[in-house]
Structures are given as C-alpha cells and as structure tokens.
C-alpha cells in the first residue's frame, strides 16, 4: 500500500426511520399571525390526509449527525483524485459557491419583473456570450438541465430544421464509441440509430461515412475528442461531406475540456453541440446533479431554439417569447440558473488565456499518466490521445482479473476508480481522465497505486478479485439488488 490511505473510525448510523420516535422534532415555526383555518372545514373532510405514516420524527442534533455520518461514507473530489474518464472531475472552486449563494440571486423568483431581474439576465447573457466564443458558435441556449437534456434539445433542433426544409429524414449516425445517452436521445427524438464503426486506431474514417451518409441521414452525432481521447483527424472533411449531402454535424461536448482555447467546434464544421457545465466548467457534481447542458448552434438553427430567448432592448435585457419557429420549451423557466452562475465565475477566474492553459495542463496530466502506465497496462490505441487515456485489461485478464476488480482495488489505495468497461469498443476498458487540477504529487501516487495493483494481479490475483478490503462495506452485491428490488424502507413486520 502507498501513503494515500489508512483505516479510521467510521460511525454506524441507522436509517432515519429507525432513529425516529414519536414527538421528537427539529423545527420551529413562528407563531401564526392570522387566525388558524380548519383544514377539514375549508378543504372538505375527504381532501385532508391522516398523518403521514412512518414519516421521520427526529431531533435537530440527530439530523445533523445522521447526514454528517452519511457524508463520511462518501468519496469526493475534496478528498482526492477522481480519474473518471469522460466525467471531467476537476476541483470545484469555492468562490463559485460563494457567489452562487448571494441572496439577491438565490431568492430571485423566475416571474419577478424583468426590471428587477437585470442581474440574473446579465449573468445569463455573459455566459451565453462566453460559451459562444469558446465554442465558435453563433447562439447559445442555457435552458437544458443536463448533458443528455442538451442532446435531446440539439436533436429536436435538427429535426425541426430539416422538417422546415420538407424532410426530417430518418437516421442519426452514432459512432460505436459514443456515450449511451447519445443513442437513447436519438430514439427520444424520433430517429433511428445507425452505428458507425471506428477504425483500428479508434477514429471514424471518411471512407466509411462516404458509404453511410445518404438522404435518410439527418445528422452525425460525434464526440470529439472521442471517448478514447483521440481527436477525429478527418473531422473537417466529415463535416463537409455531411453538409454536401444535406445532413448536419452534432457534437457531444462532454470532452470539451480537451479543446477549450485550443480548437473551436464551430471552426471545424459543427452545427450544434451541447456542453456540460458540470464537467468542463467545474460546477460540482453533487453526487449526480444538478448539471446544466447548454446548447450552442450555428445561425441556421437559431430560429428553432427553445423559448424564451434572451434579447437586448433599449432599457436592458428581456425575455422574448415570440419565436414562431421555436421547438417550444424543454424545461420550465430558464434552466439551472444556479449552475450557470458557478460556470460563469469559473470562466471569469480563468479568462481566455487561463482556459487555454487549463486545457494544456489537462492534456499534460493525461499524457503523463498514459506514459507512466503503458508498461503495465495495454493501451487501447497507438494514436496520440488528449485529455484522457484508455487501457484494456488484456494483460491482467490472463490472471483472471478484470477491469472492474482493478477499479475496486484502487479504492483500497484511497482513489476513486477510473471509468470501468467504457468505451464499449475496448474489451475490459480502463478509462482515465486526471484533469488539470491534479498535482504531479497526486498523479504519482495514483500511478504508484496502479503499478502496485498490476504487481498484485501477478502475485496474488485473489486479493484484487475480492477487493475492496478497506472500505466501509465490502463488495456490494448489485445482482441481488436487481433480482429482488427493495427501493424503499418499510417498517419491520409485526410493527
């Protein structure tokens, strides 16, 4: 074991319902300053519920301890490196939290008068402008709530544009290395998925697309750099081919951390892309959300963007609902405003030069990890990679150890695992994205842990196969959970 982790006391804690007993309370309400209303009298007896059965009753200190104990069972970026490929788990600067929690922003009601919302609108306008510049696109909507929601928005836009030209077409081409959200979004947009095979080096080839792009194809949905971390070398020629044949180029911006300040999707032929503010722009993942998935488009798609659109009028910013060609609304109100605030603060802290420098640092960290691990794990591609590197478990599989086992063993060394078994085109994939925010010291510890595990695989494979050994719970039986789903607490029988 290296120096990153050792065992410590971890408190046990029952579920809230098991802590609960009648009469305990953690709240105070001010006295009512109007006469009480009798619920049964004003609502009708049948509309009023009896008590909420089994709802918790706990004291204030119990609430605090309960959730603090739970917190101590989590790994987090605040505790260390999170080498999850394609997830871009970077440090979340706390100034972003501080400004997002300003009262004037936090308590702004979405329907308060525009004249009293100019601060919010200014923030949104500044973010739209910055994202347009970073991506090289003409217009941005901030409405989508997450990356997959952005994908759906982008595909709806494509469908609306093509339908306005008379034929929405039938298919969306998706490379076999794509995230699962891509094909799922395609189906929701009423299109059929057609897989594009990657070549041996992990890229799409122009010749393959020459054969595939016909008048049934609405768009190609590409992640660039792709999920192997490889930049699609023929992207400009692919874009030209699509455009020539009346199709569009959609880019999944999940891997934008490899490009910010270096290359702009708008400049290499992309018509529409979504970004993940919770990846590239450092907003906290929060254990799985909230995210935000702005969509940036070229001018031809702008009339179709969701309502409302932010517009500049003489007396300030306003929301424009009069957009006859719009696809409509994707979400209530204007999107995840609180996430936008954090992303803008991040962009302001970096500036143009800082974003470029962060990108180059991310590439450097990934190249360094790849170089140092290449003699222990099998690289997935000989091609140069950018912000992430992918290995296969081919060498370890000979000892009966798979990528999922190595990932679990990494926990014992004090790290969150890399992305396991993805992309699907690599057998037994280990997908590693260190991001720019890790120091050489943390990277060296990670490499050391991976090297130790590679040695353990040869000397004591059972140790790795049964990992983790030092976590609060040992390996969790996911098959049991799915076979017999228990998705809510129920009181024990007889109670």
């Amino acid at each position: 074991m290296n120096g990153k982790a050792r065992t410590h006391i971890s408190q046990n804690e029952p579920l809230l319902f098991e802590l609960s007993s009648p009469g305990k309370r953690a709240y105070q309400l001010p006295p009512l300053d109007v006469p009480a209303a009798d619920p049964q009298a004003v609502l009708g007896r049948e509309r009023v519920r009896p008590e909420i059965e089994n709802f918790p009753e706990v004291s204030e200190v119990e609430v605090l301890r309960h959730f603090t104990r739970l917190a101590s069972w989590n790994y987090a970026i605040d505790l260390g490196m999170y080498p999850l490929g394609s997830c871009t788990m970077k440090y979340n600067p706390r100034i972003n939290e501080a400004v997002a929690n300003l009262e004037g922003l936090l308590w702004a009601h979405p329907y308060q008068p525009e004249s009293l919302s100019q601060g919010c609108l200014e923030i949104m306008a500044a973010l739209e402008a910055a994202l347009a510049e970073i991506t090289g696109m003409d217009a941005v909507t901030l409405q989508p709530a997450a990356g997959a929601h952005g994908e759906l928005t982008g595909l709806f836009l494509i469908r609306a544009l093509l339908a306005s030209r008379g034929n929405p077409r039938k298919k969306i081409l998706v490379p076999d290395s794509a995230h699962g959200t891509n094909p799922a979004s395609v189906t929701m947009a009423g299109y059929v998925v057609e897989n594009v095979p990657s070549c041996e080096r992990g890229m799409m080839e122009l010749a393959t697309l020459e054969r595939m792009v016909n008048e049934d194809v609405a768009a190609l949905m590409v992640t660039n750099p792709n999920t192997l971390g490889v930049f699609e070398q023929e992207i400009t020629r692919i874009a030209a081919l699509l455009h020539e044949r009346g199709a569009l180029l959609y880019m999944d911006g999940a891997n934008m951390n490899a490009l910010a300040g270096i290359a702009r999707p708008g400049d290499f032929g992309v018509d529409v892309l979504h970004l993940n503010l919770h990846k590239t722009f450092s907003t906290p993942h929060g254990g799985g959300g909230p995210g935000s998935g702005p969509v940036a488009v070229k001018r031809l798609l702008e009339p179709f963007l969701p309502v409302p659109r932010l517009v500049r009028r003489q007396d300030g910013w306003a929301l424009d609902y009069d957009r006859p060609q719009s696809i409509g609304r994707m979400r209530s109100f204007y999107g995840n405003f609180g996430v936008m605030v954090r992303a803008l603060a991040y962009i302001m802290a970096h500036g143009g030069d800082g974003l470029r420098k962060a990108t180059l640092d991310a590439l450097l960290n990934a190249a360094y990890v790849r170089k140092r691990l290449e003699s222990y794990y099998e690289p997935a591609t000989p091609a140069p990679t950018l912000h992430e590197c992918v290995f296969s478990d081919a060498r370890q599989a000979r000892h009966g150890v798979r990528t999922g086992d190595i990932a679990k063993r990494l926990m014992d060394y004090g790290f969150h695992p890399y992305t396991v078994s993805f992309p699907l085109i690599v057998r037994g994939a280990l997908m590693i994205e260190p991001t720019e925010t890790e120091s050489k010291l943390e990277l060296d510890r990670f490499v050391e842990a991976m090297v130790c595990i590679a040695r353990e695989v040869e000397e004591d494979p059972e140790l790795v196969r049964t990992a983790p050994h030092h976590t609060r719970v040992s390996r969790v039986d996911e098959a049991l959970a799915a076979r017999r789903p228990v998705v809510r607490w129920r009181p024990p029988c007889g109670k």
């Binding site: 008590e51 605090l64 739970l70 004037g104 929060g286 109100f333 609180g338 143009g352 926990m411 609060r472």
Partner: protein
C-alpha cells in the same frame, strides 16, 4: 513532466491535431480575475435584482423558509463534490440519503416506488407521459388546462417529437377545477394518460378520485402532477393515481431564478421497470452487511442505449438531498404544521379580496383585480411588494386576474397592503 514525455513545451501536446482546426488567436474573453473581483462583480449583479421586497409570487416556484441545516449539510464537500454513486463501496452516504428520499416520497404520495429524482417538475411530467405511453401501448395524451402552462409547453415539445397527440381539458368556469364532463368526452380507447395537477395552477385542490375513475374506466393511466409539495403535508395523497410526477422546489430549494430544482416520479410497484432515471436499492455486501446501490440499470441509457426507458443520466442528487434534509427537519408534525400555516395565511388574504374561483384551495388563489393587474403590481412595487402573476399571459380569458401565493414567509401586514391595493 514535459521532459518525462520527451516534449519541449506544452504546445507540443496538440502538435498532432490537423492544422486547420487549431485556434490561432487568444479567446476573446476578459483576462482572468481574482476572487475579490469576481465576488464584487456578482454582488453588483445581485444588487440589480429585487432585494428587500415582500413577494406574493408562486406559480411553480415557492418561497418557503430554508432551515439552516439544509445548507450546512448540502455544502459538505463529501456530498457537494462527489460523483454519481456508481461505485457503491465508496458512495454509501449519497446512496443511503437517496434511499431515504425515495422512501419519504412514497410515504408522502402514497405510491409504492419513487425514483432518485428528475430535472424538475416539468420534465418529470413529460417523462411520466412517455412512461404511460410505453406501459399502455397507446399514444393519446390528455392534459388539464390547469396543468402549469410551462409544464404543458414542455409536454407538447416532448410529445411532438414522440408523435403523441395532446388534448387539453377545460376547467369549470366557476370552481376553477377540472371539468369532469369535458374529461369524459376526451378520454377514449386511444388515451395513454390523463394529466391532472393538484393543487392545480389556480391553487384549486382537484377531485383526484373522480378523474381517476374516468381515466381507468377507459384503460388510461392517471398522472397526478404537483408543483407545491408542502400541500402534501395536509392533502390526501393521490393514491388513485398510477403515476405521480412532481416538483419538490418547495422543500428548501431557493427560487434561484428558476433552477436548479428537483422533480420526482413515483408509481406503483408493477411499473418499476418503466420508470425513467436512477433508482437506489437495498442489498448486502459480501459479508452480509446492509448496503445500497444503484439498481435496475438495465432500464438505463448506459446499458440499454437506444432501447433505454429514457436518455436521462445526470439527475438532481444534491437538490434531492436538500429536500431530504428539509423533510427530516420538519418531519411528521412539522410538515403538517407548516402546511396548516400556509393554508391559514392564504385564507386570511383570500377572504379580503375578490376570488375568481370557488373551489377549495391550498396556498394559491386567483383574484379579480379592480384595475389592471399590471397597474396593481406597479402600485405594490412602490411599497416594496412584488404582487401576483397576471394571468392574461397564459389564459386570455383571465386577463383581469392575477394568481397570488401566500406562504409562511408572508406577514400579515404585507397581506393587508395587498388586500387594499387589490380592492382599489
């Protein structure tokens, strides 16, 4: 590090990119700023917004007191900066909290299973409609006109691309509740689901059992939508529904100019494999200890790809945690007492103005204004009060009316000022 890679400068890392894609100029963004400058800029923006105003706006975004423990807990780095809990062994904190969230949503709604959250109420309602279409194999959607107008717009967008026709049901002009006779005529053998919001957009508590009866008689599912979760502390749970889709913003989530909020979908056990989004389930570790993990992933995009129940990936875990802490702080007694305060305060003001509808209401109601609603609001702004939502924008026939919301945050003196402005 560069030396270890045999490189001489950082630019060498991108030397292999096609030359035509490289950006040959700096990004046109202002230079990087210090923490102090960033804080000052955002403070200046916050000051341009309303501050120090009393507010009577609801309509899907509610102002409720946020107990201090909510931010104390939700700002802990172990929750704030963790990833989606795919790796169960080091994510038991988030997983346990989500399991508790799912359990409490079931207790509140009377449903048997709840997912780990949706983006918000509007997308939860739209996804619930798609879910109903999958379950029934039918295509028609029928929605009350008193479903939040923006939720209906989202529903229409999703439905249009899924090629599901949407019909709208009138409200009774007197009570403001769903017109059950109109519902009867629109539900048929093609109907996948009926969507009813309760309390509805006008604040009226709907007759959910009657709507359920009409939907079920023709084999359609009933989706009950809620935007004001505090009402669940007092109102009979919609146990007649097949799917409940709601917004939990009222549970300690600040209005935040519209988001992030947190939606949820709850349903009956039999539909568990059609529910979109993440689910946490109980299981054991190799030593037999209780543990939690994400489960039934075979519904989800990362396994099923184009055959998934939905494309949803990120949800709203941190916001769901805030709602969980809120539900825990208030608990069984507190949530009811909070709901009763809302009811009492709303009725105090409603009794002093001319209500447009006669149906029973919770904490929102429609008022007939004696002068233009915009003029009333102008007059109130001068007294540092943000009035109600003029309804003409969403319902042309209610042009002279506004929707008022009263919560425990509104004081009696403010209400007296509003009552006076509305009657002049």
């Amino acid at each position: 590090m560069l030396a270890a890679l045999g490189l001489s400068c950082l630019e060498d890392l991108v030397a292999h990119l096609p030359p035509e894609v490289l950006l040959r100029r700096p990004l046109q963004l202002p230079p990087g700023k210090s923490e102090y400058e960033i804080a000052a800029w955002f403070r200046a923006q916050a000051e341009k917004n309303a501050s120090g105003y009393a507010c009577f706006l609801g309509a899907g975004a509610y102002r409720h007191y946020r107990p201090v423990l909510v931010d104390v807990i939700a700002s802990r780095g172990e929750f704030l900066t963790s990833y989606t809990p795919y790796q169960a062994e080091i994510s038991q904190g988030t997983l346990t909290a989500i399991f508790e969230f799912q359990s409490m949503i079931c207790q509140l709604t009377g449903m048997e299973v709840a997912n780990a959250s949706m983006y918000d109420g509007s997308t939860a309602a739209a996804e619930a409609a798609l879910m109903a279409a999958r379950i029934t194999g039918r295509r028609g959607l029928v929605t009350a006109r008193t479903l939040h107008p923006e939720y209906r717009q989202v529903l229409r967008t999703y439905a249009r691309f899924a090629q599901l026709p949407v019909a709208e049901i009138a409200y009774e002009p007197d009570s403001g509740g769903l017109d059950l006779a109109d519902l009867e005529t629109h539900v048929n053998e093609e109907t996948a689901a009926v969507l009813v919001q309760s309390p509805n957009f006008f604040g009226i508590v709907e007759d959910v059992p009657a709507a359920a009866e009409i939907a079920h008689r023709r084999g359609a599912l009933l989706i009950v939508v809620f935007t004001e979760a505090v009402a669940l502390g007092l109102l009979a749970p919609p146990v007649e529904a097949d799917i409940v889709a709601g917004e939990l913003q009222s549970f300690a989530i600040p209005p935040n100019y519209g988001g992030p909020y947190v939606g949820v979908i709850a349903t009956r056990e039999q539909h568990i494999r059609q529910i979109p989004g993440r689910l946490v389930g109980e299981t054991r570790d190799t030593q037999g200890r209780r543990a939690y993990c994400l489960t039934l992933a075979t519904r989800e995009q990362h396994i099923r790809r184009e055959k998934a129940t939905s494309n949803i990936c990120t949800n709203q875990a941190l916001v769901a945690l805030m709602a969980t802490v809120f539900m825990t702080v208030y608990g069984k007694q507190g949530l009811r007492e909070l709901a009763e305060q809302n009811l009492a305060k709303a009725h105090y003001l409603a009794n002093r103005v001319q209500r447009r509808f006669s149906g029973p209401f919770f904490n929102e109601f429609v008022v007939v204004c004696q002068s233009r609603p915009e003029a009333v609001n102008e007059a109130l702004l001068a007294k540092r009060i943000i009035g109600g939502l003029p309804l003409g924008r969403f319902y042309r026939e209610l042009d002279g009316c506004m929707l008022l919301c009263v919560t425990e945050m509104n004081r009696r003196e403010e209400m007296d000022v509003v009552a006076e402005a509305l009657s002049s």
